[in-house]
Assembly symmetry: C2
C-alpha cells in the first residue's frame, strides 16, 4: 500500500501520541511498543518511523505532553498571597495528577535517553514553566532582590514533592503514612523555616 493521505503527518503525530498514552496508562513503559501504537491507529509499524526517529523520540514527545497536562492541572490555583495555602493547593493538584496518571507520570523519570542524546530545549522550557508556578506562590516570602533564593526554594520544594510521590509510586515509602501527610509536613515545616530565616535576615 502506498500513500494513503487518510491523515496528515500532524494528525498521525497526534494519533500516535494519544494511542501511546493509552497504552502507557494501561501497561506501563514496558508495555509500550512501536507495533502496539501502530496497530492501535491502523498503520503498520514502519509508518511510525516516518513520524518519529525511534521509540525514544516518541517517548520524549509523549513526556512533553505529560508536562503540558500537568501544567494545565496546576496553572489556575487560587493564590491570595498566602504561600502556605498556595503550596498546599499546588501539591494537592500535583499529587492528584500523579495518581490519576501514574504510568504517564512515571514515564517522565523512568525513561532515559541513550548515552550521548540530550532532551530537547522545549522540554526544559516546559519544566521551567512548572517551576514558575511554585516560584510565584513563594513570592511573598522573599523581598525584591532575593529572586535567586526564591527560585532555589521552589526547586527544593518541587524536588521534595516529586520524591514523596516517586517513593509512593515505586512502593519504597515503606510506611502507612500517606503522601498527603508527608506533603503537608514538608510544606508546613519548610515554610516555617523560611519565615524564620527571613526574620533572622538569612536566606538560603
Amino acid at each position: 500500500m502506498g500513500r494513503r493521505s487518510d491523515h496528515t503527518r500532524e494528525e498521525l503525530y497526534e494519533l500516535a501520541l494519544e494511542a501511546a498514552e493509552k497504552i502507557v496508562e494501561a501497561d506501563g513503559l514496558s508495555g509500550l511498543t512501536v507495533r502496539k501504537v501502530a496497530g492501535e491507529i491502523g498503520y503498520s509499524h514502519g509508518t511510525l518511523y516516518n513520524v518519529f526517529a525511534d521509540l525514544d523520540e516518541l517517548i520524549v514527545h509523549l513526556n512533553g505532553r505529560t508536562l503540558d497536562a500537568l501544567y494545565e492541572a496546576l496553572r489556575d490555583i487560587s493564590f491570595d498571597g498566602d504561600p502556605e495555602a498556595g503550596l498546599m493547593r499546588l501539591s494537592e493538584r500535583y499529587v492528584d495528577f500523579t495518581r490519576r496518571h501514574q504510568a504517564r507520570w512515571n514515564l517522565l523519570f523512568e525513561h532515559h535517553l541513550p548515552e550521548g542524546r540530550e532532551l530537547p530545549d522545549w522540554h526544559y522550557v516546559k519544566i521551567f514553566r512548572l517551576l514558575n508556578l511554585a516560584e510565584n506562590v513563594l513570592a511573598p516570602l522573599f523581598p525584591v532582590g532575593r529572586e535567586r533564593e526564591r527560585m532555589h526554594s521552589a526547586r527544593v520544594l518541587w524536588s521534595a514533592l516529586h520524591g514523596i510521590c516517586s517513593l509512593e509510586s515505586s512502593r519504597n515509602l515503606a510506611a502507612e503514612e500517606s503522601v498527603e501527610a508527608l506533603t503537608r509536613t514538608l510544606i508546613l515545616v519548610y515554610v516555617e523555616g523560611l519565615v524564620n530565616a527571613a526574620r533572622k535576615g538569612r536566606y538560603e
Copy 2:
C-alpha cells in the same frame, strides 16, 4: 550438558547478581538481559531460571543488594548530637552513592513489578533500616513521646533527598543549581522549621 556442580545454587545466585550489577552499571536497566547475565557467568540462560523465577525476581534481589550497599555506605557516619551536621553528612554520603552507582540506584525506582506482584517483606526491612539512620540523627530534635513525629520527619527528609537526586538523574532538575546546594538548603530550612515548631510547642 548435565549437572556440572561447578557452583552450588548459592554460588550461582551470587555470581549472577554480581554479573547483573556490572551489566546494569554499564548499560542500565534496558541493557540487563537474562542472556547477558548467563553469558557473563558461563552458563546458558535457561540455567538462570533455576535460580530466579524470572528477570523481575532477579532485579528484586539485585535491588536488595543495592539497599544493603547503601546502608553500608551510610551506617557509620559520626554523629555527636547535632542533627543538622548529621543530616549533612548523611546526605553527602547518599548523594555520593547515587553518583557512584547511578544505574543501580535508578533501578530501585525504575523497576516495577507486574500488576499483582508485591515486593518481599525483607525489602521493606532494608528500607526501614535506612530510614532508621535518619531517625537516629533527628533524635535530639524530638522529646520522648514524639517518636511518631520524628519518624514522620525522617520520611519527609528521606523522600526529599531522593527527589533531588532523582530529578538530577533524569535530567529534570532544569537548573544550573547543584544537588549539593539544594540538599543543603533543604536541610537548613527544614531543621530551622523543626526547631521553631518545637519552640512553639508544635510538632508536625
